[in-house]
Symmetry: C2
Subunit: 246 residues, 2 copies
């Protein structure tokens, strides 16, 4: 009998064409499907991943659910699947969930971290996991602007045009900016995200941090409900999906 | 007129066949030569790198010297060369040195760090820069054993057989072991190293940390002057060349 299993997955996305399987491309979902097939000796028709992370985006807390028919106890499954995965992908947890659990629909909130390195010299050991943007960013106005994002709002200005979701209204619970030496981290927690939303927010906050725009610009951008009003998109490799709450 | 330039180089060695150029292989030295040729429009016959780091080994402070004939001021050279290098290699500093300066012969001491991750789940974001060795290692006996390595000694037991250097006597100035949560760092500073010496020392210290051997075993291993007396070699990707002093 098939049972519904919730998987928590970590990956370094730098060598991958994103989460979602695409013909002829190396993707996280495809690797996971291959690993499950090898482990369970059966065809896996569908894995439901909560976030369709883009090419180059990493994750420490991606969540997916999958229906499987196997005698393997759930508490041994994370380790068993991981043996069949490439070294840059790992399943950290597997738990039984009710049949009606959906990794997408049951999401309460999720948090992304965006990492920027502001030092002059490119950080070779972290180059695939950050945006190397040399030059000072002033944090105080970035924080002021970030405050304006909190709450239930229409984030249409931060959605790349390809987004086909019906509504562009989301609730951002937190948008925290922290600094450690030459590193800046932007943590955004929301009940859901539009296509490229975090990267478009980061690109906008950087325009404010470098002094091109005042923090008040954020109000105008939100009001415009038009992608062209916001700043440029930040590169994918700085983004990491940290956790998803259910 | 040719002048002698000392370069400090950082690299993520995980996708490379080591420092030294080899026909048909991707190496750090070869990339550096290609970058210099592109920048200076001349053939670079030789780069003298202080450490011939192995395949998979990274560096934050490799040093090399090279004779070049160029009008580019030395203080602009690091940035200029780096533009022609792949993103996982960077030149952080270039300075003029006397013609008789040799990156190899003038080395006073160098320091390598070896990183071990002891947690259960493989650390996907750092997997190319550590030895993932799940399970507890007891630090106190490892430190006791590390103390025994300090000083001028014959380290023949820690040299892989391929080492052809005349003498196996070196001086270790420091061998410090530190711990941060599930990470263990082994820092070894010496006036020079034999082939695979740090990785063979680390493999031996791990045997002591996991309780297979007592710290006193280190005396016997040093005394044996035979590679088979020591522990297994630790994997390359945990090793990073931190700095070189002149």
């Amino acid at each position: 009998m098939k049972r519904n299993i919730k998987l928590t997955i970590q990956y370094d996305g730098s060598g991958y064409s994103g989460w979602q399987k695409q013909p002829g491309r190396k993707t996280i979902e495809a690797e996971l499907m291959t690993a499950l097939k090898k482990l369970l000796h059966c065809e896996i028709l569908e894995i439901e991943g909560s976030s369709r992370t883009d090419a180059g985006v990493s994750a420490l807390g991606q969540v997916a659910n999958v229906f499987v028919d196997t005698p393997i106890p759930t508490d041994r499954m994370a380790k068993a699947i991981s043996k069949y995965l490439p070294r840059e992908i790992v399943v950290t947890e597997a738990v039984d969930v009710p049949d009606d659990f959906s990794a997408i629909k049951n999401t309460k909130s999720k948090m992304y971290r965006y990492s920027i390195y502001t030092g002059k010299t490119r950080p070779v050991l972290e180059i695939n996991r950050c945006w190397h943007r040399p030059g000072q960013l002033v944090i105080a106005p970035m924080r002021q602007a970030a405050e304006k994002l909190i709450g239930e709002k229409d984030f249409k200005s931060f959605a790349t045009a390809a987004d086909k979701r019906a509504s562009s209204i989301r609730t951002i619970y937190n948008c925290r900016i922290s600094q450690e030496k030459e590193w800046i981290y932007i943590d955004v927690e929301a009940n859901g995200f539009l296509y490229n939303m975090v990267r478009n927010i980061v690109g906008t906050l950087v325009e404010i941090g470098r002094g091109r725009w005042q923090p008040e610009m954020m109000d105008k951008i939100l009001h415009a409900k038009n992608r062209t009003a916001a700043g440029p998109i930040a590169p994918a490799q700085g983004l990491c999906l940290m956790w998803i709450k259910y």
